[in-house]
């Protein structure tokens, strides 16, 4: 079955739903509209999975749009599509949609209209981020997620919601504004080089363009900083615990499940292929920060008295693995990073849902207020234990697949420093057991310390409906991860090839910045030593003569029209 412009429908259906909720009357109608819209979106997105061609996973599929957004004077288009890198993240986003609505069903009692319409707008923004193949469009979607989230935290959050919301927005904005500057500059120089002087934001054209070495470094830093804040990487992570603790459960689920992935996705989608040399130069730095994040996040997590904060810091630790996998530049580690993004989305979302359910029952997040509740809420405990095990990377559950591939791949990186970093990162599997089992032990086991914990309602059907899909996927992706891995592999493999090719060709384009570095002949210049050193960090790189050809590779992208 072919649905025309399926992807655009998936992206914008929630927005339409938002309009409907605004028009609707009555709390029940609002919730139902939101749920139906989210569910319909998810069901439609399943056709993306079904219709996706695995062999062509490296190329753009379900392409939709292609029309100019602003004017013909600049090449800024509405252009969306999915490839192997975005497919799973799109599905993760659409899956979490209905789950978030259900989890908010009784939790949100005030301003329901505002809450659900913001949720739906947010859904459009998030889906768009993973599908946009025009950097300006990407930026628009990226920013579009910011505003609804700001209100979700600021209006429906906890006691210090204003502080947390403002911190979240300012921190993310600071990063993304710098990225905007980089986008504008990049579009300008790329436009001159490959688009006949017309500014271009077209992803394919930008990929064609080899950014001069000297400019790569700072453009990379501007892009990477925006994403590093979003991930968040150590030391830019402190907005996260505040935002998580203050956000309502639904907000936390979206934040951990999808928003953080926008950071790691951005690194894979833009930083690596646009600035391959600079990325290689900074690989050890990012690897180190990632490993620090893994261990630091785990230790700080262990020290939290607040269950939600503990889970929040666990994200810092877990996403450290993803970043390590990205910057190790091996196919195995990158594939691990891709699947780990989804894994983290599933397991951390489930953790936040379950902690949120406890909060709804007892109105406290302090672990000391619980203890021994396994007896009163056996079902909740069962799902919690399973989720914790997935999060701690137990083989047979999804987390292990990602962690193992990331670590095994990074260990095989040709940079010796990466092997050392990987060995250190592996201690993270011990620490994950330490802080996660500590939480289980304190909250669920031991004697019942408070009378009010003795009798608590166990999960009801609505709550089961939110957790069961996640847990089923955790098991499924742990036992048969191959269908998921297979869908991204052609794309990640192609990405790494592209990086190799571009690194070889990088100094070919004259740089407008420093006349000294302008190559005047096809022979390798003394300055050429710089990119060559950088290339050595990439496995599989074969030294090639520097070529003065602009279009030295063929893009495997379908024509959008």
């Amino acid at each position: 079955m072919q649905i025309p412009d399926l992807l655009s429908v998936v992206i914008f259906l929630p927005l339409a739903g938002a309009v409907l909720t605004m028009l609707a009357r009555g709390d029940q109608a609002i919730r139902v509209i939101a749920l139906v819209t989210m569910t319909a979106t998810f069901v439609l997105s399943l056709f993306l999975w079904i219709g996706f061609s695995v062999e062509d996973a490296a190329s753009l599929q379900f392409v939709s749009g292609g029309f100019s957004l602003i004017s013909e004077a600049v090449d800024i288009k509405y252009l969306v599509g999915v490839d192997g890198i975005s497919l799973l993240l799109v599905l993760l986003t659409t899956l979490l949609g209905p789950i978030v609505v259900l989890s908010s069903w009784n939790y949100i009692t005030q301003h329901r209209k505002g809450y659900y319409s913001l949720l739906l707008i947010l859904q459009t923004g998030m889906t768009g981020v993973f599908c946009a193949f025009d950097v300006v469009l990407f930026y628009i979607f990226f920013e579009l997620t910011l505003i609804p989230m700001y209100f979700l935290i600021g209006i429906w959050g906890g006691e210090e919601r204003i502080y947390a919301a403002v911190k979240f927005v300012l921190y993310t904005m600071a990063g993304s504004l710098l990225m905007l500057v980089a986008i504008l500059y990049l579009g300008h120089v790329a436009g001159q080089a490959v688009n006949g002087g017309v500014f271009t934001a077209d992803y394919a054209k930008l990929l064609e363009f080899n950014v001069p070495i000297s400019t790569q470094a700072w453009l990379f830093v501007l892009f990477a900083l925006a994403f590093a804040i979003k991930v968040p990487m150590f030391p830019f992570h402190t907005w996260l615990p505040d935002a998580h603790v203050q956000a309502p459960t639904g907000g936390s689920v979206i934040l951990a499940g999808v928003l953080l992935k926008m950071g790691t996705y951005g690194l894979v989608r833009f930083c690596l292929p646009f600035f391959p040399n600079a990325a290689a130069d900074h690989a050890v730095l990012f690897g180190t920060l990632a490993v620090v994040g893994i261990i630091y996040g785990a230790l700080v997590s262990r020290a939290q008295p607040d269950a939600k904060k503990l889970v929040a810091y666990s994200s810092v630790s877990h996403l450290g693995f993803v970043v390590l996998g990205i910057f190790a530049f091996t196919l195995t580690s990158l594939q691990g990073a891709m699947i780990q993004m989804v894994n983290h989305g599933l397991s951390t979302s489930a953790l936040f849902l379950l902690v949120g359910m406890l909060y709804e029952r007892r109105h406290t997040r302090a672990m000391a207020d619980y203890g021994g509740i396994a007896r009163s809420v056996p079902l909740l405990t069962f799902f919690m234990v399973l989720t914790v095990l997935a999060s701690a990377g137990l083989p047979g559950l999804n987390g292990f697949v990602g962690e193992f591939l990331i670590l095994a791949g990074s260990f095989g990186s040709s940079t010796p420093a990466m092997a050392v970093l990987t060995a250190i990162a592996t201690t993270g599997v011990i620490l994950a057991a330490v802080y996660l089992l500590w939480m289980l032990s304190r909250m669920f086991f031991g004697p019942v310390r408070r009378e009010e914990n003795r009798v608590m309602p166990d999960l009801n059907r609505r709550e089961l409906a939110t957790v069961v899909p996640l847990v089923v996927l955790m098991i499924l992706m742990g036992v048969v991860p191959q269908p998921f891995l297979a869908r991204s592999e052609p794309a990640t493999a192609r990405l790494l090839e592209l990086i190799d090719e571009k690194q070889a060709a990088a100094p070919a384009v004259p740089t407008p910045v420093s006349p000294k570095k302008r190559p005047t002949s096809p022979e390798p210049l003394p300055e050429g030593a710089q990119p060559l050193e950088a290339k050595a960090a990439i496995p599989g790189y074969k030294a090639q003569p520097v070529r003065a050809i602009k279009h030295s590779f063929v893009l495997q992208m379908q024509d959008p029209r």
Binding site: A303, Q304, G372, L407, T427, V429, P447
Partner: protein, 664 residues
């Protein structure tokens, strides 16, 4: 029947049992009370795989068979399959796991009767068998690691089974975390192999091992060995096992004695061809085993909790198995795994039967108005139980004689073979083997002594519990004693599968050697160190006689000593050894040491350094930036006064400055 199908059934039946017993009662609480059905399903899901494994056993499989089912995960050229390997090594392990496992399931029906989480217990136990079968049948290291961590999980769940006591939950967490330290090393070993070999399949790893550098080989074997010390409770990672006794006793018998803790030995045997290429690490393995055996045996002498005696005894016996692996006699390690599974499971189940009886004593005491604390596991309040629990007593005695190495019992053959192999290795010019051998001889004596001590204090002598004239224990029901009888019988005769070399003169071959290592041109799955020197028959006879005398001497000594002194015997030993005895009682302060150097620095560091650092410094900086920005904007706000004259003045000043700069 098709081998693939048989394999699938063997592996998946326990999983099905776990799902049935776990999920159905979880969803429908009214099912939780049907103990008979739950117990029957649980036991059948292990007994049937045992029968199917027997079918495979009789089919032979001198040549390994690999049943590959699907690709678990793969990237590029690297791929790992869910594939199971049938060969003599995996078959023997699968038989022990399902055979002993089925007996312990049967036992648990009686032992766990009336527990409110009866259903959960059987679900966990079935899950354990599933994971253990994955561990021993896996055809690659990664699938083996799934079983490896999976059994660790079940161990965690079962140690913390009675989670209302916070101590149990803590013991469970400790076991899991310490095991994970070992798993960390296992992971690193796999990373090296992925990089160097590009595969984790056993066949490919073995084939590639010859081309690896000595450094790589040593690293891999060393890391796998560290992994093994975690799961098999050796120095430095043995500390979790004694605490693991917090779990129900069938768990101690199945997981913490017969099966899971032997997986480290299985790993080394499976990788024997690779381990043999790293002789330096082998020395380390043997010496570690010897030291662990000795250390644990001395601790066992000073324990008063019957399960803790058995726990340290397990650690000590595992040490013996590591000695065997370290001197290149992997098949002997597996031989001891098998015999140990018989007698140690019998001992643990026997202690469970005793505890069961003492629980009744406690129950009766409470009814009679007794208020003081009463520990049903404390041997000091037992004594003379043999009169009330005859079947438990005789089976316990049989297993005690077996573990002590009394001639012709199972332990005699396997332990003697370990010591003989160590001796032979030393004879072959490996100096460390002499050390290992002498420690082994000394530990064998201690073993006979402390095991007989536990028997004497429990089953012989006077009744030392309160109101002994009014209350006394009763023999346990048949579901408990029947497995005891079977295991006791195996403890007595199970050793004949591994006759000493001497028997070859009489035309009797060592079956397990032929089965695992092969004979003539046929090679089995386990490789052994090639001996160059030949130990003469005379020396072998001397060694056997020496081993027998030590076992008989130790048993006789303990029997005399504790028959005479009963509980005051311990006091006499304490006076004799003074400060050393305290170290034994407190397990050489090992836990305290780790607490000081590892646990408190990490936890304390997290709470007192990292968390405040994050709060004050990392976040403090962020907030400081924000505050600065706010202040700057506050200052900038003063510029926008709204007074037109001020703007005009500013413009004029600006123009002046610009002109000044231009003319400069």
């Amino acid at each position: 029947m098709d081998t693939d199908l048989l394999l699938l059934l063997i592996v998946l039946l326990p999983a099905a049992g776990a799902v049935l017993n776990g999920l159905l009662p979880l969803m429908w609480p009214q099912l939780r009370r049907s103990e008979a059905a739950i117990g029957a399903v649980g036991t059948a899901c292990v007994a049937v795989p045992f029968v199917l494994a027997l079918v495979l056993f009789f089919q032979g499989f001198a040549e390994p068979y690999v049943g590959s089912f699907y690709t678990w995960m793969g990237v590029g050229d690297f791929s790992v399959s869910v594939a199971y390997r049938v060969d003599h090594l995996s078959l023997i392990m699968a038989l022990v796991v399902t055979g002993v496992g089925a007996l312990i399931h049967l036992y648990s029906i009686g032992y766990m009767h009336g527990d409110r989480s009866f259903w959960k217990f059987f679900a966990y136990l079935n899950l354990f068998i599933f994971m253990m079968l994955n561990l021993v049948l896996a055809d690659n290291l990664l699938l083996m690691f799934l079983g490896w961590e999976g059994v660790g999980l079940c161990s965690y769940l079962l140690i913390g089974f009675w989670y209302e006591d916070f101590k149990n939950s803590q013991a469970a967490t400790k076991a899991f975390v310490v095991n994970r330290i070992g798993d960390f090393a296992f992971l690193l070993a796999m990373f090296i192999l992925v990089r160097e070999v590009g595969s984790l399949d056993f066949a490919e790893v073995f084939a590639a091992a010859g081309e690896m550098t000595a450094g790589t080989l040593n690293a891999v074997v060393f890391l796998l060995f560290i992994g093994a010390t975690g799961k098999s409770a050796q120095i430095p990672l043995f500390v979790w096992l004694p605490d693991a006794m917090a779990g129900p006793t069938p768990v101690s018998a199945l997981i913490h004695a017969a099966t899971m803790v032997t997986s480290g030995l299985y790993l080394l045997a499976r990788m024997s061809s690779v381990v043999l290429m790293a002789p330096t690490v082998m020395g380390l393995i043997a010496v570690t085993g010897a030291l662990t055996a000795l250390v644990a045996a001395t601790i066992a002498i000073a324990q008063t909790d019957i399960k803790r005696v058995l726990a340290y005894s397990t650690v000590s016996q595992l040490g013996f198995m590591f000695m065997a692996s370290g001197v290149g006699a992997f098949f002997v390690a597996i031989f001891h795994v098998v015999t140990h599974a018989f007698f140690k499971a019998c001992l643990f189940l026997g202690s469970g039967s005793v505890i069961h009886g003492m629980h009744h004593v406690e129950h009766d005491l409470r009814r009679a108005g007794y208020k003081d604390p009463f520990d049903p596991q404390d041997m000091r309040t037992m004594g003379g139980l043999g009169r009330f629990m005859p079947r438990t007593r005789w089976t316990y005695l049989a297993a005690t004689l077996a573990i002590s190495g009394i001639p012709l019992t199972a332990g005699f053959f396997s332990k003697d073979e370990i010591l003989f192999k160590a001796f032979e290795f030393g004879y072959d010019g490996h100096l460390f083997a002499w050390f290992v051998w002498s420690v082994g001889i000394g530990t064998a004596l201690l073993t006979a002594f402390y095991m007989m001590r536990s028997y004497m204090l429990t089953f012989e002598g006077s009744h030392r519990w309160p109101m002994a004239q009014r209350v006394h224990p009763h023999e346990s029901p048949w579901t408990i004693t029947a497995p005891l009888v079977v295991l006791a019988a195996l403890s007595l005769v199970g050793g004949f599968i591994g006759l000493p070399k001497l028997a070859e003169k009489a035309g009797l071959a060592n079956w397990i050697h032929g089965y695992l290592v092969g004979h003539g041109t046929h090679h089995g799955p386990v490789v052994e160190a090639a001996a160059t020197a030949h130990v003469s028959v005379g020396i072998e006879v001397v060694l056997i006689v020496l081993g027998s005398l030590i076992a008989i001497g130790g048993v006789w000594w303990a029997w005399r000593f504790y028959a005479l002194h009963e509980l005051t015997g311990d006091e006499r030993i304490r006076l004799r050894f003074g400060g050393l005895y305290r170290w034994w009682q407190r397990s050489y302060y090992w836990d305290e040491f780790y607490d000081k150097v590892a646990v408190r620095p990490v936890v304390g560091g997290a709470e007192n350094a990292f968390a405040p650092f994050d709060n004050r410094v990392v976040d403090g900086l962020v907030n400081a930036v924000a505050r600065t920005a706010q202040q700057i904007s506050r200052m900038a706000r003063h510029l926008q006064t709204g007074v037109v004259q001020a703007y005009a003045l500013a413009i004029v000043l600006g123009v002046v400055v610009v002109i000044a700069l231009m003319v400069r």
